[in-house]
């Protein structure tokens, strides 16, 4: 669809920034359109928990005036975005902190503001404390979940309630909702984006990253938020690439690895449609000039449980001082994580870290032979709300699946749609790169996206 025919709320960041830069679209006009969209459909989706309409309009007016003066800051200038509640925002600390203080703007939020983005507000996430809020619904079919824990991010971006969102991923929480809602979601390399101001679930597994409608938008957002942060001791000093350099349709000669043994290990829990569509996507890479090779990562079958052990132990350590409160008033998943963390002894935690090193070494060997890996992201499309219990996610954290291993190894991972189920729910492909090589996964994802154009489908919610 031509840009001129699209509703403004469904413009991609890439399209909107071109129009804003050339002054064919004003940030005020765009932000007004998005706020109207929120007003029209968020009553059905429940994505926003703290909408800052007034300040967003004020920021949009400031962006418009600045651009009119000839000071265009870059592609995020005047773009309306929203963030998962787990990130602190000045005046709106993460609610999951519950018993601890926020820090003002998280570094990733601050960087988005410095890039000129318009902050619409904060979005629902799974396991929020306090009075139970309505669960966000999937815009493709409101009887289905969005996936979590970046629930509001998934719903809001897919439905045009913002143009992009920051999510957080400890065991799949960017990729899950991106997959279920038909988005491009990028968990960059651990250390690439500062965790400062992100309420901790697990210090060594938490990744902050962009969720958007197309690959190029994740590149624009990553350009804005990537880089070393002295406030985050785990943030990396590796130089930051220009991620938009990846936006070219070219995978000729690229070697795509397929961890077939691992996919087979997960196959009994994976719907055949997912395996079929991901297989077809891998075949498309061949037709586009890539070479596909099967790879073996012998210890990958232990990576999910190792990720869970580290997750629950670091969660327990991070929440030891407020555990009594969490057990009294926290959500079921948070209480369960405390029990699981307590039940793990020091030898288990150290073993999980040793498995982590082994898995990292095995990935390093594989990446000497291939440029990226391709595999499913989910075992099926988004389930029905009524079929999902409060701690169901935890069962996925402790048996081999497609998300946790890449938190454990800290690898850059992009999910993009690769088809739809019969009832029009998105299915995703997952692409994984070697540390700090976001450019390759973005290039592979962009080439596939431009060839298949799944992003042109949109949910029909009105």
């Amino acid at each position: 669809m031509a840009i001129a025919e699209k509703p403004l709320h469904y413009l991609t960041i890439h399209e909107a920034q071109q129009l804003i830069r050339s002054r064919k679209l004003s940030p005020v006009e765009l932000t007004s359109a998005v706020l109207e969209r929120i007003s029209a459909v968020d009553g059905k989706l429940h994505a926003f928990i703290n909408l800052k309409a007034e300040s967003a309009m004020s920021e949009a007016r400031a962006a418009e005036a600045e651009i009119a003066r000839g000071n265009w800051r870059g592609p995020m200038h005047g773009i309306p975005v929203a963030v998962k509640d787990q990130l602190d925002v000045e005046g709106a600390p993460a609610r999951v902190r519950q018993f601890t203080q926020g820090v003002g703007d998280a570094t990733a939020v601050r960087k988005l503001r410095e890039a000129g983005a318009v902050m619409l507000g904060k979005l629902h996430m799974s396991s929020m404390p306090g009075p139970e809020l309505p669960l966000p619904r999937n815009p493709w079919n409101t009887g289905h979940i969005t996936g979590g824990s970046s629930t509001g991010s998934g719903a809001s971006v897919a439905a045009g309630l913002c143009l992009g969102s920051l999510g957080e991923d400890t065991a799949g929480s960017i990729r899950n909702p991106s997959a279920f809602c038909g988005l491009a979601g990028l968990k960059a390399t651990y250390g690439r984006v500062s965790r400062y101001g992100l309420a901790p679930l697990s210090w060594s597994l938490d990744h902050c990253g962009p969720m958007a409608r197309v690959v190029e938008d994740t590149a624009h957002m990553l350009n804005a938020i990537a880089g070393h942060d002295p406030k985050d001791p785990t943030s990396s000093t590796v130089p930051v690439a220009d991620y938009t350099s990846a936006l070219r349709e070219d995978v000729k000669g690229l070697v795509v690895g397929v961890p077939r043994d691992y996919i087979n290990e997960c196959a009994s829990r994976t719907e055949s449609l997912v395996l079929k569509l991901v297989g077809a996507a891998i075949d498309e890479f061949k037709s586009l000039g890539a070479r596909v090779e099967e790879v073996k990562i012998p210890t990958l079958n232990l990576a999910t449980i190792a990720n869970a052990v580290i997750y629950y132990n670091e969660f327990w350590a991070a929440h030891k001082s407020d555990a009594a409160g969490v057990l009294k008033t926290g959500a079921a998943q948070r209480r369960a994580r405390i029990y699981l963390g307590l039940l793990t002894n020091s030898a288990d935690y150290i073993q999980a870290q040793r498995v982590r090193s082994r898995v990292r070494a095995e990935f390093a060997e594989v990446f000497k032979k291939v440029d990226c890996l391709a595999l499913p992201c989910q075992t099926g499309p988004a389930p029905l709300v009524k079929d999902v219990g409060p701690i169901d996610t935890l069962f996925k954290h402790v048996v081999p699946e497609y998300n946790g291993p890449f938190n454990l190894a800290g690898l850059p991972t992009l999910v993009i749609p690769c088809g739809f189920s019969e009832n029009n729910l998105p299915i995703a492909l997952q692409l994984v790169g070697e540390p700090f090589d976001e450019v390759t996964v973005l290039r592979a994802g962009y080439t596939y996206q431009q060839h298949m154009k799944w992003y042109e489908r949109r949910p029909e919610i009105q």
């Binding site: 009594a324 057990l327 369960a336 029990y339 307590l342 039940l343 982590r356 082994r358 935890l394 402790v398």
Partner: protein
């Protein structure tokens, strides 16, 4: 829930001055038993004596 796991969890909670929320141990029995079972699998891999996890480095300042 497996009696030994339950006793162990209750003792660990008590050591921390905590108690489980009413109904939690019944509600979470299945995930707790699955997790504890899978911890054993984690130890099934044969790692070398010098295959370490991330280690302390004296030049790391945390800044």
């Amino acid at each position: 829930m497996d009696k030994l796991i339950e006793q162990c969890l209750r003792a660990l909670l008590a050591r921390e001055g905590l108690e489980p929320k009413a109904g939690d141990l019944e509600q979470f029995a299945e995930i707790i038993e699955l997790y504890v079972g899978n911890l054993k699998i984690l130890h099934s891999v044969n790692l070398g004596a010098e295959e370490l996890g991330p280690v302390f480095r004296p030049d790391w300042t945390g800044k």
